[in-house]
């Protein structure tokens, strides 16, 4: 065991360390550049931007179009979180407590679905399915919301399932039942409180996904229902600094999400 921990296959620690540094740089360099760029007055033809300004952020948060799309993103994101949670919690519970194999495989299928199904395909399907003469949902934020829920299910289901599997739920439930608790009382007082970390992790992931999601938003929304990423796409051609600022907002949402999630996992380890 000992030599393997130190010098696996003759690769020296040095090479491994180099590989790790390279990886960290590879991931961080673009992010850092975006961040720097968002504060630069002018960035064209030079290695790094010149000057320092907050102008781009100021423009971003004062222009109506961006504010509206930000609000739209928050609305769709929040609704997606709520709906996904309401769908995921009973599903996880049912799959976990049932002994049937079939249910389990159905569940596994649901979890890999977003990978197997390109968003463009669901997008074109939704556009055709909900385009009736008397009521067309095409171009409304509702349709985007429906689609986001479909793609968010795994984000919500996975942490909740992991959370539930950490508990000895079957015995907890039996203990509660033997004490005379009704089904609803068990859900309210034991199931939901004990799943709160899982639900919260799922909610954060779902929100981050929905907020930054570009592909479905591009297909499904119209100019009235544009979410932030779609509006942002148009900023690409406004100017480097402004575009950097607009993109940095998305990066921050992702970053904060991961930071908070990380907090959780260390909390959980402590318990």
């Amino acid at each position: 065991m000992s030599w393997m921990g130190e010098k696996p296959f003759g690769l020296s620690q040095f090479v491994l360390r180099l590989a790790r540094s390279f990886l960290a740089m590879y991931i961080l360099l673009p992010v850092v550049l975006l961040f720097i760029g968002s504060f630069g007055e002018k960035w064209f033809g030079t290695l790094l931007p010149q000057g320092f300004t907050l102008e781009w952020y100021w423009t971003l948060f004062s222009e109506k179009m961006y504010l509206r799309s930000l609000r739209m993103s928050v609305l769709v994101g929040a609704l997606t979180v709520i709906a996904t949670a309401l769908l995921a919690i009973p599903t996880v519970y049912a799959v976990h407590t049932s002994e049937r194999r079939l249910l389990r495989s159905f569940f596994d299928a649901v979890v890999v679905l977003p990978i197997a199904l390109p968003p463009i395909v669901l997008g074109i399907g939704l556009v055709q399915a909900y385009n009736w003469p008397f009521l067309s949902l095409v171009g409304t934020w509702q349709l985007l919301f429906f689609a986001h829920v479909i793609y968010s299910i795994p984000f919500m289901v996975k942490p909740i399932m992991a959370n539930l599997e950490m508990l000895d739920w079957k015995t907890i439930e039996e203990a509660a039942e033997s004490l005379g608790a009704s089904q609803w009382y068990i859900v309210r007082r034991l199931l939901l409180p004990n799943l709160r970390l899982g639900i919260l992790s799922g909610a954060i992931m779902t929100f981050a996904f929905s907020f930054g999601e570009f592909q479905l938003a591009l297909i499904l929304t119209s100019s009235e229902s544009q979410t932030y990423p779609v509006t942002l796409y148009q900023a690409f051609y406004v100017g480097t600094g402004f575009a950097c600022a607009a993109v940095t907002v998305l990066v921050l949402v992702a970053g904060v999400t991961l930071w908070v999630l990380n907090r959780f996992s260390s909390l959980r380890v402590m318990q």
Binding site: A175, L179, S182
Partner: protein, 360 residues
């Protein structure tokens, strides 16, 4: 607290094609502490879960008191349950864990507070009232679990190997505490364990479960010194089992190999039966005594010491007689006189022979 009796009538249960319980009959008088023992996989947990109502039997009825509860859901059976791995509610503190059942029943707040404190005093955990479960030791967790189960004043207390996850010292401590609380409250208690020593020391009655049936129900003393079947004899305690031929039932004369054995008179006519010898009822003498003894005494067997195990207060010596190992417990000082490989004599009183009638 009034105590209820429990009656199980012909409980059968199978999982898939595997029968686990095959018609269990068991009558438990009110207020008794009854242990169910049996090897791993014998269906103890299954039986307990059927009594609790978490499993439906395929056949048979469960009575708690005079009431047939076979179809009653667990939460209406008025039972208290303690699990092997505590099953405390991780999101609630000790106080709220104990209060859980009372709150579920919408008991008045002042009454809840009084009851929770009473229960925590009973299990000596008043000072941990506001701790969270993960801050407690295993022993403390199990005390909370017990307080929680008793807080709702159940008519019947069910415990499934509650001490097996604890270390040896805490296990002993809690064993006697459990017994004290049970006697204090006079609650009918069914206790599942695979530790026969634990069952013998704590119970009023012991039921031995084997191959889906209760092989014997009796006081610990009965189960130990008068097992009915070979299985019970082998499962409970250490013993030497011999297959003997009856020479004269009235005189209690038997033959084993070419020895004649003297037991107590037999009430049944039999040709063959199993006899049981407990190690503490046997003794060993030096070989030289054989010829003097054998003329006046029947139960004298010649053998050779093949093993010795130090057990603290006694030395367990194995003596091989005609290919069969006889286990003999001797006080340490006496055992030192015998060397490994030495030829010795094993002897015992007629009363040491216990007949097993259960095996046909």
């Amino acid at each position: 607290m009034s105590s209820v009796s429990v009656r199980l009538l012909g409980i059968a249960k199978r999982f898939g094609h595997m029968p686990v319980l095959e018609g269990v009959h068991l009558e438990i008088p009110g207020g008794q502490f009854v242990s169910i023992v049996g090897p791993s996989g014998s269906g103890k947990t299954t039986l307990l879960r059927i009594i609790a109502g978490f499993l439906q039997p395929d056949a048979g009825r469960v009575y708690i008191g005079e009431k047939d509860v076979t179809e009653v859901p667990p939460r209406l059976r008025n039972i208290g349950m303690v699990f092997q791995h505590y099953a405390l509610f991780p999101n609630l503190n000790v106080y709220e864990n104990v209060a859980f059942g009372l709150r579920a029943r919408k008991v008045r707040e002042s009454e809840i507070d009084r009851k929770v404190r009473e229960m925590l005093t009973l299990v000596h955990l008043e000072e941990k009232m506001y701790s969270m479960p993960h801050e407690l030791s295993g022993g403390q967790k199990q005390r909370v679990a017990l307080a929680r189960a008793l807080a709702v004043e159940p008519k019947l207390l069910l415990l499934d190997e509650p001490l097996s996850a604890l270390d040896a010292k805490v296990r002993l401590e809690l064993r006697y505490e459990l017994k004290r609380i049970q006697k204090e409250m006079g609650i009918t208690t069914i206790y599942v364990t695979h530790d026969q020593e634990e069952a013998l020391s704590i119970s009023d009655l012991v039921a031995v479960l084997h191959q889906g049936l209760i092989e014997q129900l009796g006081t610990p003393e009965e189960i130990y010194s008068r097992p009915r079947t070979r299985f019970v004899a082998e499962f409970i305690g250490i013993s030497t089992l011999l297959e003997a031929e009856v020479l004269s039932p009235k005189e209690g004369k038997l033959r084993w190999m070419d020895y004649v054995l003297q037991g107590t008179p037999l009430s049944q006519e039999r040709v063959k039966l199993l006899i049981l010898l407990r190690p503490e009822n046997l003794s060993i003498l030096p070989k030289e005594r054989f010829s003097s003894l054998v003329s006046s005494w029947n139960n004298v067997l010649q053998g050779r010491v093949v093993g010795q195990v130090f057990l603290g207060s006694v030395m367990r010596v194995a003596v091989e007689v005609k290919g069969v190992k006889f286990l003999v417990d001797l006080p340490n000082r006496e055992a030192n006189r015998f060397r490994l490989g030495e030829e010795v004599v094993v002897t015992f009183l007629p009363e040491a022979i216990h007949y097993l009638f259960g095996n046909e």
